[in-house]
Amino acid sequence: MKCSRRNFLQKSIYGALAVTLPLTAFKILSPGEAAAALKESNLRWAFLVDTRKCVGCGLCVKACKNENEIPYDTPVTRTWVERYVVTRDGKTRIDSPNGARDGFTSPEMLGEKIDEKEITKAFFVPKLCNHCATPACVQVCPVGATYQAPDGAVLVDRTWCIGCGYCIMACPYGVRFFHPVHKVAEKCTFCYHRISKGMQAACVQACPFGVRQMGNIKDPDDPVTKIIMSERVGVLKDEYGTKPHVFYLGLDERVR
C-alpha cells in the first residue's frame, strides 16, 4: 500500500479517534441506565438537629475536629455552631467564634456588648453538611472526585481531587474548605467511617443534650424518621433546590 501524506494524516485521525472512543463510550450513560446500575438502596442517611436543646457548648465541634483530623487550631471545621441574638430593635446578631470549638465563653458578639435587657430571643444553631439529594458540589466537580454514595452521603476522594475549589464555590451552605494538610476539598462525611460500622457520628456521640441525631429516612420505624415525619421540621436554604437532608426542629426564620 502506498503511504501518501494524505493517507497518513487520515489514518492518524482515525487512530486518534479509535483511541479516545473507548474512554468516551464508558462515560455516556443515560440517567436511567445510571440509576439502574446503582441498585436502589434501602438506606438513606438523614440528620436531625433539635435547636431547642442546643446550649452552644461546642463539644460536637471539638469531637469532630479530633475524630476527623482537622488541624485543631485552624479556623476551618466540618461542623460548627452559630449563636443568634435578636434584640428589641429587630436586629439580628450572629457569631460563631472559632466555629464554637470552645463554646461561647463571652457575652460579647463580634466585639459588641449587648445589653441583656434588650435581648428578646437568643438561640444556637449547629451546622454541618446537608448531604443534599441533589448536591451542587457533586454536579460541579470536574473529575468526579466528589460523589454521592447510594446511601446519600456526599464524599470526597482525596486521591483524585484536583483542588480547583469549584465545589467550595457551589455549596450554598459554606460547609466545604480545603484540608489544611491534604490540600484537597474537605467536608463533613456524617463520619462515614463510623456510621458504616454501626457506630454513631462523633458529634452525635459527643453531644450531651441529644441535639444531634442520625437515622435512616427510608425506614419508617427509625426513631429519627418518626420525628421527621410527625413533627414540624425545617431545612436550610431550600430555595437552591438542593434538597438538604439535615432537618431542624425549632428553626427560626432568621437562621441563614
Binding site: 463580634l110 470536574p142 473529575v143 480547583c164 464555590m169 480545603f178
Partner: protein
Amino acid sequence: MNDIIVHGLEWTSKDLFTYPNEFIYWSIQIVMYPYMTGLVAGAFVLSSLYHVFDQKDLKEIARFSLVFSLALLPVAAMPLLLHLQQPLRAMHPLMTPHFTSAISAFGIVFLTYALIVISEVWFVYRRHFVEQVKELAGEKGFGLRMKRNIFQILTLGAMDIEPEFLAKDKKAVRILAGIGIPVACFLHGYAGFIFGSVKANALWMSPLMPVIFIMSAVVSGIALCMLTYIIIMEYKKLKAVMAKGMGDESVQVIRGAEMEVISKSSRYLMSFLVAAISLEILDLIFRGYTAMKSWDILRSVMYGKDFVNIFILQYGLGNLVPFIILVLPGRTLRRVTLATVLILFGVFMMRWNVVIGGQAFSLSFSGFMHYHLPIIPHSLETFKEGLGGVLLVLSTPYILFYFINKFTPSLGGQREG
C-alpha cells in the same frame, strides 16, 4: 509537604458574620484566567474579521493578532495551573471528565481551539516556511543549518508553493478562521458560564454572564493587539529614526501605515465596547429592579465598599473615559494608546469585580470578606496567588511571542497573507 496552610486565610479579612469555612478561595489567578482567555479570544476574533469577513482594513493587524493569539494561548491555561491545589493532577479532567461540571470540558474546548489556531498559523505561514527552507539551502554554519532543519520540520513536507496550492492554503485559512470564531466565543463564553452557573453565588448567577464575558473578551483582545502593535511599530520607527534621521521617507511610511491600522481597528473596538457596557448595565438594572433576597447585600457591596472599584475604576476610568477619547474627533496615536491602556485596565477591573466581588460577601448575607493581594511572597502559595504569579502570567505571552515570531514573522507586512 505537611505544612498546615489554610487556603485563603493569608489574604482574607472578615467583617461581621461569615461562616467559619468562608474565605476568598478563588483569588487573583481566577481573575487572570478569564482575563487571559479573553485576550486570546479577542485577538483571534480580530484576525478572523480579516480572514473571514474580508475586512481589508484589518489586513495589517490580522497577521500580527493571529500570531499573538498563538503566544497567548498557553498562558490562558497557566493561571488555572497556578491556582490548583493539586497542580500535578491537572490532567485528571481529561481522563475522567465529569460532564455535569462546567469546567470538565475546559481541556477539550481549549485543545480544540488550540488546534484551530495552530493549523491556521501553519496555513498562513506555510509559504514562508518553504521559502526559508529554499533560501537557507546552501548554508554551511551550524546555526543556519539548524534553522533550516526547523523550517523543514515546520513545512511538514508540504513544499508546493505554486499559486494553485497557495489558493488552497488561503481557503483553508478562511475555513479555519470561520470555525475559529464560534469556538473562540465558546471558549470564552464558557468561562462566563463557569461563573454564571454557580447558583450559590448571588453576584455570579446570571444567564447574561457568558455573553458579557464574550463581549468584554473581544474588547480586551482588540485593545491589547492595538497596544502591542503600537509599541512595536513605535520601536521600529525609533530604529528608523536612529538609522536614517527624523525626516527620512521610511519613518513617514511607518507612521502613516500605523495610524491607518489603528484608527480602523478602533472602530471595531468601540462597537464591541458599547455592546459590552450595555449588557453589563442591563444586568445591573435587572438585579436592582427584581431585588431578590440577595439584593440587600449586593447593593451594599456594589454601592458601598466596592463603589470605587466598580463605578469609578471599571465603568468610569475603564469604559467611559476611553470611549470619549476614541469618539472625540482628531484622534492621535498618543490618545489611542491611552484609551487602549485604560480599556485593558477596565476589563481587568471587570474580571476583578466579578471574581473578587463575588466573594466579597458571605453566603449568609450577614457579613463581608476583603481581599488583600499578597505583594511580597513568603511561601509558594503567596507567590503563585500573589503579585508574583500575576507578573509571571502577564509577561509570558511576550516571551513566547518573541520566540514564535522568529519563525512566523508577523510584523513586516509586505507579503500576501
